[in-house]
């Protein structure tokens, strides 16, 4: 966890360095977010433990005072510990072992927002992200890792707020709640994943 925080901090420092060299908004009519992400899988028995191993990167352009369009990429890893159990692998083989499951998601695509109060300190918005999602489902047991790579369509509505202590500088903070769904499916050992749902929370910097 320390490493993640260090990287997050490094990203923030990099961004702040860039900001200090700018006198105002970095790019006219643009915004950027770098967030730490907490993800809670829903309806997912494979790896259902809430995890803070995630980050979100997003940028967009103000088409109007209220509407932005841009791109995003985020990632998230969730885990689950499974005690020793016997798995009937259906091909005549069986495996008894303890496991750790990991679900890694990396969606990316386009992001759109509708913003309010864009001249104020608190600037709320609703948004939608659409794109592709790469997900790797993995089982770790003994010294082995068995995994499957999957791809799917990604959809993610969110509500959030950008907080700019000085709106004219457009450098501040960002917080958002989101729900995501992707069509990724795959089978591993005796487990099957058919669609991935998450609730989550993001907090980070906005500029």
């Amino acid at each position: 966890m320390k490493k993640l925080y260090l990287r997050l901090l490094a990203s923030a420092i990099v961004a702040m360095t860039a900001i200090t060299s700018a006198s105002a908004q970095l790019l006219p009519n643009a915004y950027f977010n770098i967030d730490w992400q907490l993800g809670m899988p829903v309806s997912n028995d494979f790896a259902d433990k809430t995890s803070g191993w995630g980050m979100n990167f997003e940028g967009g352009y103000f088409l109007t005072d209220a509407i932005t369009i841009g791109g995003f990429l985020n990632f998230q890893t969730n885990f689950k510990n499974l005690p020793r159990q016997t798995l009937d692998l259906k091909d005549g083989s069986a495996l008894t072992t303890s496991q750790k499951h990991a679900l890694f998601q990396l969606p990316f695509g386009v992001a759109g927002r509708y913003n309010w109060l864009t001249e104020s300190v608190f600037q709320p918005y609703v948004g939608m992200k659409l794109g592709a999602s790469y997900a790797q489902i993995s089982s770790y047991y003994y010294v082995y890792k068995q995994y499957v790579n999957t791809w799917g369509f990604y959809l993610q509505p969110e509500v959030g707020v950008s907080i700019f202590p000085r709106p004219d500088m457009r450098f501040g903070f960002h917080a958002a709640f989101y729900y995501s769904y992707s069509t990724n499916s795959g089978s591993l050992l005796t487990y099957h994943l058919d669609g991935i749902n998450n609730f989550g929370f993001r907090v980070g910097i906005s500029f």
């Binding site: 980050m55 890893t77 020793r84 496991q99 047991y141």
Partner: protein
């Protein structure tokens, strides 16, 4: 210029952030527990297997011993611990209805041979497409141990496993097999118990016993 600076720095930040974006779980605790894998020939008729012979030693897969003439020869493990493991297999087979033949002179006359091997210091992979890993071990349970004329070995079922150090292998071979022109000896059932080392060089015998018992427990099709 400022925009260029910004993009360079933002890109650097993204690279730093993505450097290890996929988090791996800690697996150290997983190595402290044994694993049991079993597989069998789903077309095998275990009801036809009445008698079996099991050697009084466990083959040790590792650095081979060398005889006075400098020839490599097999290492066998046959102390009290090895005997305990062999007796565990015997007890499980007896409970499943098989009859043990103990006369070595009759070992080629039984329905099945049971062979135990312990991987002491090598890791090899056995897979359906390349099952002849024992080719690296000319001193592995030689097919002619079970009688003259056997032309090698084969698994009639898929096996995908890396046999790691500290693993105990048990195989049941079909000594009644007559359906192959090349006389290869089929393995009807195998088990793989791994994770038996706990920081030392010797396997934890209690866990090996539990592992063998689990191997039979998860193979109910062996029961007569």
């Amino acid at each position: 210029m400022k925009a260029k600076q910004f993009f360079s720095l933002a890109l650097l930040g993204a690279v730093v952030g993505f450097g290890s974006c996929q988090k791996e779980p800690s697996t150290s605790s997983l190595r402290d527990e044994f694993l049991v894998y079993t597989a069998y020939d789903m077309e095998a008729d275990f009801d036809a297997v009445e008698t079996y012979y099991i050697p009084d030693s466990i083959l040790v897969i590792g650095a081979p011993a060398v005889d006075p003439q400098g020839n490599k020869k097999a290492n066998y493990w046959n102390d009290a611990d090895a005997l305990r493991l062999i007796e565990t297999v015997v007890a499980e087979l007896t409970a499943y209805g098989y009859t043990r033949i103990t006369d070595p002179a009759l070992r080629t006359e039984v329905d099945a041979g049971i062979q135990l091997s312990y991987v002491e210091e090598r890791a090899y992979f056995v897979g359906y497409n390349d099952p002849y890993w024992w080719g690296y071990y000319p001193y592995y349970w030689a097919p002619d141990y079970w009688g003259a004329g056997w032309g090698g070995w084969y698994y009639p079922f898929s096996v995908y496993y890396g046999y790691t150090t500290g693993s105990l292998l048990t195989e049941m071979v079909d000594l009644n097999a007559t359906n192959r022109a090349d006389n290869k000896l089929p393995v009807l059932w195998n088990s793989y118990v791994s994770g038996l080392l706990r920081g030392g060089n010797q396997p934890v015998i209690d866990e090996a016993v539990q592992g063998l018992q689990q191997a039979f427990k998860q193979s109910p099709y062996l029961k007569k």
